[in-house]
């Protein structure tokens, strides 16, 4: 952060400082209560055993964490979360970028198309989750009825352990591709046109211009999109809750769904807090790694 007012000295207790602290007090109280305290308390809980029925948590040391390592269901949910995240992020990088390139063309009614493609992003995951449950309905859903129309018997989708997770990825892709396309489009339109003109004068073809100008200059947007997609996908919950409840046979149980079950079905608050901390660490490390991996030429 730059300090535009360097040179003037800061007073420790003048009217300006007093006003600032007065204005900030509610915010500080709020964040201390609803972020600071919970963040610390869930760390504390992760070393305890507590079902909320007895007044105080029991200290168990690292037991929750060691139990997690040996918990096959936890490992399974971790793997499934990773698969979901990789699947949806791959979809987004490919389809959102393609859609953004399409929306960047000079075509008739292009603004109308931009409006339409963003539309799924304003709907709730609960609402679209249930719409897609109905779309995927093996007997009466639109997809299998459509397939039947061309003589193909469609799969059971959400009821098939092998493709239930894929069905969730398709649903999440439907909702998010347009959103990330809008972000890519903003990135594309921020590229200075003179680069393209210069390349054209030098005789560069369309593919060369895309590879040597568009892609490198789009890198900051790329990093942002991938990081956001990974963070959001790792926290997927509502879709799973509404569409499959983690089933069939646990094939779509993801990390946050597992955490929710441990905390609010089995009331293992300490264990669930440990799951929460593992989630936090994973997201933290992944975000840092991505900035390191892609971030070399990114300013900021």
């Amino acid at each position: 952060m730059t300090n535009p007012m360097a040179g003037r000295s800061i007073h420790w207790w003048n009217e300006e400082t007093r006003f600032a602290w007065a204005a900030l007090t509610p915010a500080l109280l709020f964040f201390a209560t609803f972020v600071g305290f919970p963040f610390g308390y869930s760390f504390y809980l992760s070393f305890h055993d507590w079902n909320m029925m007895v007044p105080t948590p029991t200290w168990v040391g690292l037991e929750n964490y060691t139990a997690l390592m040996a918990d096959a269901e936890f490992t399974k949910s971790l793997v499934q979360t990773a698969l979901f995240t990789i699947g949806i992020t791959a979809c987004i990088v490919v389809f959102s970028l393609a859609m953004a390139l399409l929306l960047d063309q000079k075509l008739r009614w292009i603004k109308l198309y931009r409006t339409i493609f963003y539309l799924p992003a304003v709907t709730s995951l609960v609402a679209i989750g249930i719409v897609w449950v109905w779309m995927f309905d093996p007997q009466h859903g639109l997809i299998n009825q459509g397939l039947r129309g061309i003589g193909v018997e469609g799969p059971l989708w959400l009821a098939d352990t092998r493709i239930a997770l894929l069905s969730l990825i398709l649903t999440a892709a439907w909702r998010n591709v347009g959103y990330f396309a809008t972000i890519f489009l903003a990135g594309l339109q921020g590229i200075d046109n003179t680069y393209y003109e210069a390349a054209r004068i030098d005789g560069a073809g369309a593919w060369d211009r895309f590879r040597r100008i568009t892609l490198p200059l789009l890198k900051p947007t790329f990093v942002f999109v991938v990081v956001m997609s990974v963070i959001l996908s790792f926290q997927v919950f509502a879709l799973v809750y509404v569409m499959t409840s983690g089933g069939p046979a646990g094939s779509t149980s993801v990390l946050v769904f597992y955490l929710y079950q441990q905390a609010f079905t089995y009331f293992r608050m300490g264990y669930a807090s440990a799951v929460g901390y593992v989630l936090f660490l994973i997201i933290f490390v992944l975000t840092l790694l991505q900035f390191k991996a892609f971030g070399k030429t990114v300013e900021a």
């Binding site: 952060m1 400082t17 600032a20 204005a23 915010a27 709020f30 964040f31 609803f34 972020v35 919970p38 963040f39 308390y41 869930s42 809980l45 390139l101 399409l102 960047d104 063309q105 000079k106 075509l107 198309y113 409006t115 493609f117 963003y118 539309l119 304003v122 709907t123 709730s124 609960v126 609402a127 679209i128 249930i130 719409v131 897609w132 449950v133 109905w134 007997q139 009466h140 009825q145 903003a186 339109q189 393209y196 003109e197 369309a206 593919w207 211009r209 895309f210 568009t214 947007t221 790792f234 926290q235 509502a238 809750y241 509404v242 905390a263 609010f264 807090s273 929460g276 933290f284 975000t287």
Partner: protein, 286 residues
């Protein structure tokens, strides 16, 4: 296919016509994929049960009826759930806008010890996934006696780091002279903020308000934890509950889902320029 950008003049002429046809075909394909689930949702909500289970996928109902909507309102607590959602999202939006402006102002305009560290701390809270803080927040609500109440739904959501960030960016972009003139005229800092700066924040406030309202309307995880009785259900909880109870009256379910999607879609269609602005602000400057 020619790759060129919107800003290139005379590009329309250089694209061979098969490429243009292909581009329109792709646009059409994307449009169909995007709109088909909405069409299926609306169409099912107007179909009688026999038609829904007839075994033929008709996108236009043969005999459209309103029964599903009537059933939804009479048999399910739809009105109450929508009322709860409007109340919660409305208060939350108002609160976030007010707290964001007041918290952003010192960060944007004043000099005081600890400013930059405090600002980084507040932004840093965005790094913590809400699921990590969810359990202790739930326990807090128990201590406060706020489980199953509007306070419990609303209070943990009345401030947002992103809102503070957006308002700070916006306030910093306003010319300083305005304030200085008001200060010289003897206005207090508070009056300067409420009477000189606030009237200028219209576009930023609109963007923040729309995003907060949409997010709050669509919020699911927190209400799921804090709400227990049917009277306190938000519309999202009601929908999830229908699925959990395995209600198979798909016509009625789709009617309720259509009603739940309508407000955010309407807000988006009418006020979309603020959405675009918000994406640019949160996405690229963040």
């Amino acid at each position: 296919m020619t790759k060129s950008t919107l800003h290139t003049p005379g590009r329309l002429d250089e694209r061979p016509w098969p490429a243009t046809v292909l581009l329109y075909a792709l646009l059409l394909l994307c449009t169909v994929i995007t709109l088909l689930p909405f069409a299926w949702m609306l169409s099912s909500s107007f179909k009688p049960t026999v038609e829904i289970f007839s075994g033929t996928a008709q996108l236009i109902p043969a005999n459209p009826i309103l029964d599903n909507y009537i059933n939804a309102v009479t048999r399910q607590p739809v009105a109450r759930a929508i009322f709860n959602s409007i109340l919660v999202a409305g208060i939350e939006t108002f609160a976030v806008v007010v707290t964001s402006v007041f918290t952003a102002y010192p960060f944007a305009r004043l000099r005081f010890p600890g400013r930059d560290i405090l600002f980084m701390l507040i932004l840093g809270t965005m790094m913590i996934p809400s699921q990590v803080t969810m359990i202790p927040t739930f326990i807090l609500m128990k201590w406060f006696g706020w489980i199953d109440s509007y306070q419990g739904l609303i209070v943990p959501r009345i401030m947002a780091p992103l809102g503070i960030f957006l308002m700070r960016q916006f306030l910093q972009s306003l010319p300083k002279e305005l304030e200085e003139a008001a200060r010289i005229d003897g206005c207090s800092r508070l009056t300067t903020l409420t009477h000189v700066l606030l009237p200028l924040t219209g576009p930023a406030v609109a963007t923040l308000a729309i995003f907060t309202f949409t997010a709050s309307w669509n919020e699911f995880f927190w209400p799921l934890l804090v709400v227990q009785s049917t009277e306190m259900w938000t519309i999202q909880l009601l929908i999830a509950q229908l699925k959990a109870a395995e209600v198979t009256d798909w016509g009625m379910v789709m009617a309720i889902v259509s009603l739940s999607v309508l407000p955010t879609v309407l807000i988006y269609v009418v006020l979309q320029r603020y959405f675009v602005k918000g994406i640019a602000m949160s996405g690229l400057k963040g």
